[in-house]
């Protein structure tokens, strides 16, 4: 994912434009993403079957059987990062898909319709839209969002006869005292997901026409574990002041722990990130030129605004240090992966991913992160078409204030549909939050 240098944010009256200090190791991610894309568009020519997936990383399971894959959200993010999302969204809307539907879904479906029927004559869409390979199988593994399986159901209706497997990942609500990675509900649900992952491997093997390659899966999951451990270590190093890397860096590094999980180069990319962070700590270099505030990003990433947001916050001398999206998912418990017998570890990571947790567990984990990273305030990114993330924002806002004394602010936006942004509202809300933090500091002196 590249940080765009186009589109300077407007900053209102209280800030001057400053550049964020994005990790240079992020360039390695760009290389991997490009390699993946080349592999994907040539997959069919190379005799590979293509699987569509949504939700949590299923790539290694398909890679182990020498299949290529498209991760719906990852695909939408890539399209948006290249500012090519408008056309597929228009195509989907013309088909009758309401713009209140998940914008990831609309973007991917627009690409699918462009691939199936061609790009309408009045629209100009690049190859990232029109060259999307058609699926040979569909696998869903969606935690914490009922819209995900409904999205794949919609895709599957466009491809009658293409086999579909849905890994039902239950909510871990905290019934009868169960908590994060503990309790009867947790144990039962881990076993439930693990069983389905086993069934999914059999499904993939059946589609491929040969026994499932568990040895290759073990090899790939070994790489996933190492990548996850490096990422966790690097993230935890960012508790220092000034923060050497930001939520925006970790958003760039989502790909190696999401749809590129197990991909060649992922370990090296995260090792480079960790080493760069260690050097920055030694040199006293922060992710923003002059860190005055440390914020937590609550909500999903806005891919077409990633660079725009990074600049905006840098200009407000604000390090967005951590986020629920980046820090509570994507192999967030790498220690639990046993490469020799990986299904249980995968089940644990997928079950305990942030979106599938009940509110009380979510709050506890999020508050732990706020304390660990010395957070001054919280941004609630109300992604308009991601109701899974937004469902508990206002509860969080109230309890952050009551229990931790941390102020928050909210602005609307979206993952890949920028029409939901109102820039002056964003500026005003950020300014108000920072002024609240200043006032609190003043009172404490």
């Amino acid at each position: 994912m590249s940080i765009d240098t186009m589109g300077q944010p407007h900053l209102g009256v209280q800030a001057q434009l400053k550049k964020p200090n994005i990790l240079s190791a992020g360039r390695l991610v760009n290389t991997m993403v490009n390699d993946y894309w080349e592999d994907l568009i040539n997959a069919k020519a190379n005799g590979k079957l293509v699987g569509y997936t949504t939700g949590l990383p299923i790539g290694p399971f398909l890679d182990a059987q020498d299949m290529a894959w498209i991760h719906g959200e990852g695909y939408g993010a890539r399209v948006a990062a290249r500012h090519a999302e408008h056309e597929p969204q228009i195509i989907a809307e013309r088909k009758g898909y309401d713009r209140e539907i998940c914008s990831y879904a609309r973007t991917q479906m627009g690409c699918v319709f462009a691939g199936l029927e061609g790009v309408p004559a009045d629209l100009e869409a690049g190859s990232v839209v029109s060259e999307i390979p058609m699926p040979d199988l569909i696998i869903t593994a969606y935690p914490g969002c009922t819209s995900g399986p409904q999205w794949d159901w919609t895709i599957s209706r466009q491809f009658p006869g293409v086999p579909w497997f849905n890994v039902v990942i239950p909510y871990h609500m905290g019934r009868n005292g169960s908590g994060y990675m503990r309790g009867e509900e947790y144990e039962q649900e881990v076993a439930y997901v693990e069983r389905q992952l086993k069934e999914m491997c059999e499904f993939i093997g059946k589609i491929s026409g040969r026994p499932y390659n568990y040895d290759k899966l073990s090899e790939l999951m070994g790489r996933v574990k190492e990548t996850g451990l490096l990422r966790k270590e690097a993230m935890e190093m960012c508790a220092t002041t000034p923060a050497p890397a930001s939520f925006f860096d970790w958003s760039i590094f989502i790909a190696p722990v999401n749809y590129l999980s197990g991909w060649p180069g992922t370990v090296e990319a995260l090792r480079a990130a960790r080493d760069e962070i260690a050097q920055r700590i030694e040199d006293g270099v922060g992710t923003v030129p002059q860190e005055r505030y440390r914020l937590f990003w609550e909500g999903i990433m806005n891919w077409n605004k990633l660079g725009w947001m990074a600049k905006k916050f840098a200009s407000f001398d604000t390090a967005v240090v951590a986020g629920r999206y980046t820090h509570m998912a994507f192999w967030q418990e790498p220690e639990m992966i046993d490469p020799a017998n990986p299904l249980r570890g995968v089940a644990i990571n997928h079950l305990e991913c942030q979106l599938g947790l009940g509110y009380q567990i979510t709050e506890q984990k999020m508050f732990e992160l706020c304390e660990k990273y010395h957070i001054d305030g919280v941004i609630l990114h109300g992604a308009h078409t991601c109701r899974s993330f937004g469902r508990s924002h206002y509860l969080m806002a109230e309890n952050l204030s009551k229990k931790l004394g941390i102020p928050s602010t909210m602005f609307e936006g979206d993952m890949v549909d920028e029409s939901f942004y109102r820039e002056e509202v964003v500026n005003t809300r950020i300014e108000a939050l920072l002024e609240t933090i200043d006032a609190k500091r003043q009172r404490q002196r």
């Binding site: 898909y97 209140e100 914490g144 969002c145 009922t146 819209s147 239950p170 009940g358 509860l395 609307e412």
Partner: protein
Amino acid sequence: MTEQLAAVLAEVAEIAQNPYAKAIEAKAAGEKVVGYYAMNYPEELIHAAGAYNLYLQESAEPVTAGHAYYYSFFCGPSRSLVDQAVKEQLDFLDVFIGGDYCIQEIGAAEVVEAQRRNIKSLFFRLPVGNEPTTRGDLHAGLSEIKGDLERALGVTITNEAINASIRLYNQNRALLREVYRLRELNPGILTSSQLVQIVQSSMVMRKDENNELLTRLIEALKDQPPRDVNGQLFFLSGAFCGAPKVDILSIIERAGGVVVADDLVHGWRYISTDVQESDDPLAAIAEWYLSRDFNVPCPTRVNPAINYPQYLVDQCKRYGVDEIFILQARYCEPHMFFFPDVKIALENAGINYLLIDVEHEVVSLEALKTRIEAFVEMNQFKSDMAAV
């Protein structure tokens, strides 16, 4: 309309307009009250636990205090539930059950749990799909909620009690289906608003009392003389959680539309399928979820074996109608994901449709009235031309 029918319908309307009154009375009399929201709950289990079983309803009140806890871009039914909870209007509940079939309802249930600690909150896991393992997974979800209900209410739920509740609930569904049958034979005897209220009464009353009310209603309906229906016949679809707005149904009927069948949750969807009595009643309820989905497909159930668009086409053909009103709650993603396929299926079958995007806070009835009237008139014109 006979006096007897008018009296029963007035009773039904009173219950529908004050949907929690009877539950509050029961609470005052010392009963435990269990509320749940919205479709897909195993009501028989709650009844078998000896508790008052209340299907919570979308309120007619505008959402105000609830917006302090829930975004305005969530569906009306879920925002209304949050609003009712934070206004302390649900504090008569002993137990609240949320469930996992829609993310917006899950979030609303989380707010209820966090904000109303005086109400014991439970969560019902109802796995989606239709794989060889799904029956067993549904059974596991039912076993979980049964155990949680037993703990919350301090009771043991026996198989005998569940089977007795299944019998009672099947009687209720059969009576409601009889009301539907009479309306099908004589479409003018009930308006669609009245029919919605009749189903709503079943959702909020004790089932034995509701059975008695429905029996009186059926007797009164049988006495009705045949009524000529001059308007256009329509199928009414959608509104998967909240009851359709009476205002919208009234506009349809005042414009000359006659609704002859529906797939509403406050309608045929709620009563289409019976649960079998069984030595393993949880297995029977699990089977009910799957079979009901074939009788009236549900866009939340992620069941690739069903074909909701074709179901709507088949229903229109069965009832001899060429027009359909689709009520889609604003922000209802399950419905929005299906609409394009529904549209194509209807167009291919030559069935005209009008999609009505329903907000909790109705913005402009006048604009809606114009659209509905135009749609009814257009179809009337087509029918007239075809007859020439």
